[in-house]
Symmetry: C2
Subunit: 180 residues, 2 copies
């Protein structure tokens, strides 16, 4: 069964980017064994990407070739007229959770990567629409920035599936969401 997986890196104080949406602090992290943190492997298990509009613009702003050409990417936005110019990408303004159910019901052994940002993540958590969280915590207290989990009302309980760390000091924790 297809799963919705939030796969993301964060600072120890829960920021996914600094106030200017930059991730230099993450890229500059010393990585003695040049580990890709299982990224290539993860990406090969994904056929659908969901991200918020700001996250889309941030990734486009990196100026590199669109890294997710092999996936169908949904950019969540209330504005269907949003300009999209990357391959295999569409703006999505409809009922997202209905769409996710539809995608899940098409059998596939590949999964849906929820890439953030915070507002999209909150919405998915509130709708109990995330199945797993694969979190990479970088050894830095950033102080301020874009929060991984913006505030919301109802606590979400998790079950820890895996946890280990890398020589860079990155801590990996893999959770399953316990649904009501």
């Amino acid at each position: 069964m297809k799963k919705v997986i939030l796969y993301i890196a964060t600072s120890l104080d829960g920021y996914i980017a600094d106030k200017e949406h930059r991730v230099e602090w993450l890229e500059k992290l010393e990585n003695p064994d040049s580990n890709d943190y299982g990224y290539k492997n993860f990406l090969s298990d994904i056929d659908t990407l969901i991200m918020g509009r700001k996250t889309y613009e941030v990734i486009k702003g990196f100026g590199t070739e669109w890294p997710y050409q092999h996936c169908r990417t949904l950019v969540v936005s209330r504005h269907p007229e949003l300009a999209i110019d990357t391959p295999n990408t569409e703006v999505f303004s409809g009922d997202l959770f209905e769409e996710v159910e539809r995608i899940k019901n098409v059998w596939s052994d590949k999964h849906i990567w929820l890439l953030g940002g915070g507002i999209t993540t909150r919405s998915f958590l509130e709708h109990q629409c995330i199945d797993e969280i694969m979190l990479f915590t970088a050894p830095i207290v950033l102080g301020e920035g874009i929060r991984l989990f913006p505030e919301f009302r109802k606590p979400v309980r998790l079950s820890l599936l895996e946890n280990w760390s890398y020589p860079s000091g990155m801590v990996y924790s893999h959770y399953k969401i316990i649904k009501d």
Copy 2:
């Protein structure tokens, strides 16, 4: 050399308590092997406690016997007239970081436990006055509450010393602060 250690439990989204300063979500965490997460061991290595005024009142509010009788406890407050009625406890309104230096220079193989809360922790981080962080991350996204790390300006880099998890799903990460 005496170290200042921030030893604390947090939700995955970085809250040390809910909005009403309660920690039921932490106490109710299933703990199949009745693990104390190394707490007794840690406490036996401590002879000084530092906590903010609110944290003091929250712990007093638990209504149990004061759990830190064997330690000298400093309650940080701008109000020296604060009523203190627990053993071995004093209100501290002076230059806290001078006092910490003074305490550190009295040789002892025991350490200083910085117990929080958020405002006191931020002040210690900003003054580069924390040596180590021992963080216990509970498998829950709380949604809202009292933040472990309130916003501040200057990123603090860390070096990961240890990381493991418990059957309860609690993830333990032990960091050393990299000072400028």
